[in-house]
Symmetry: none
């Protein structure tokens, strides 16, 4: 790890995590993982992250995440829930959502754009309609992931209907 960037140059790790698992992004022969991905893989015992030779815990990784993102926790809860269900999960930033979610490999079209909403937020209809519009334009489903106080996630698909 270096700064907030988690990476590896190991060929084997790249094949295992990226090529098969859809984790991270390969650049110049290195695999870079997001903090969500790194925290998840550490939590699952699949990787170790070291900073100056010191191993980092899930919580330390999450703390790094929170420093840059107030919503890191609810995003992580949703990320983990989706990954645990076998989906591949990538950033949805380009589409104004939190995640793009794939049933299988990321070289196919993603199925959903997932927008994470904590139970106690106040939303404006515009928050929803903007994301539905984008999803509609790229032929994906827009899914609102509502995270409740207990950390359970419920998914609601929102679809533009022409009556």
């Amino acid at each position: 790890m270096s700064g907030d960037r988690v990476f590896t140059s190991s060929r084997k790790a790249i094949s295992r995590l990226h090529d098969n698992g859809g984790y991270g992004k390969v650049q110049d022969g290195k695999l870079f993982l997001s903090l969500l991905e790194a925290a998840y893989l550490v939590e699952k015992g699949r990787i170790k992250v070291t900073d100056n030779e010191r191993e980092l815990s899930v919580e330390e990784l999450m703390e790094l995440g929170r420093r840059r993102d107030d919503c890191f926790d609810v995003k992580y809860i949703t990320y983990r829930d989706l990954r645990n269900r076998g989906y591949v999960v990538k950033s949805g930033l380009k589409f104004g959502s939190h995640f793009r979610v794939y049933r299988g490999r990321t070289d196919e079209h993603s199925q959903w754009l997932v927008w994470v909403v904590p139970e106690n937020t106040k939303m404006s209809p515009n928050d929803i309609t903007a994301r539905v519009r984008v999803a509609h334009g790229v032929k994906k489903a827009m899914v609102m992931a509502v995270v409740d106080e207990d950390g359970d996630v419920t998914y609601y698909e929102v679809k533009w209907v022409r009556l």
Copy 2:
């Protein structure tokens, strides 16, 4: 018309408006229309509403509606839009929504529960999940009708998905 109640005893009107159009409610041989229905039918030139022999305009009917209901305008806009598209529209109160919407006759099951949301409302996820749950329980679709500042209505179906 009398007070807020618009009604007729004409057999022909009852057959045309209620039996064929799904407008109003027949009680003791009279057809009673809600202000939404009356305003719409006046706007379409299909009925005349008189109060002490004076004919009332759509605006006068809407003004009556507004006096009792802050949301009369957005409801009317949605009501009109749905009717213009050929749907039969009744109150959805019992289901916690604004309208039940039928593709055809009201003796069949309604298709949608429509919840009218002005563009500038703030919603809590709770408000949405309650209505989605009701719709799910009665096997209807929950549709959010978002009314924008220009008075355009866009419809969004919200559905609980199990991933």
Copy 3:
């Protein structure tokens, strides 16, 4: 504690709090508590929450809650009141309410769906009918918890009656 997540890996704590008390959610061998649960357990002196080795007070935990949720206080007051009376309390989001309340263990059906209403809210009949309908559909009782200015909670069951 780390960020907004309060957790422990202690087997003994998990057994005592989760298995016997119905607190929190176990994931990958850790027990995660919501801020409502953590604040309550700290107030009762049953746990200590530390952040970077510093112990947090109830007020500090509540302050964290308020930052994310305008209604944290009234929810906490209701949560505490229900817990003090011996009930197990979990999120009711999926049912459009604030809490599911169990008489005993959470593996039985919950008894009530509790919707927290501060004394000074304005409600529309719609908000009530939606939640009554949900409760009716899942054979639970819909309970409105009205929190007054003094922080006292009064419970009202609302039930659909066919006359």
Copy 4:
């Protein structure tokens, strides 16, 4: 009829309407009917109301009602609905509600205190809790009659629960 008071001195009418039907109030050998009662009985064809020898229609009676009471229409809709279902309905003013409703004769205890609420009102929890309190004190059930846009009435019993 005289002013807004509808009355009769006919023994036969008194026996039929008051003694058997629970309509009106007998005073000094005369039966006085409220405007709700008079309108209902005229609508059902059971009485005729004359003012200076001119017969009044239901609508004329209702117009009189509206002049003194903005909510006359929704109250009438509820009154009629309850009467049509076979209940005896009297004013609930003394109890802060709109109606006292009896299953049978009015010399028994009334069953419910009914509070009429149009679909589009905004309520404060206090509006509800005050009426529940009163009903609780006199061992009756508090019933909210929500009148929707179509003039349909749905009944919700609200009950104080000690958890």
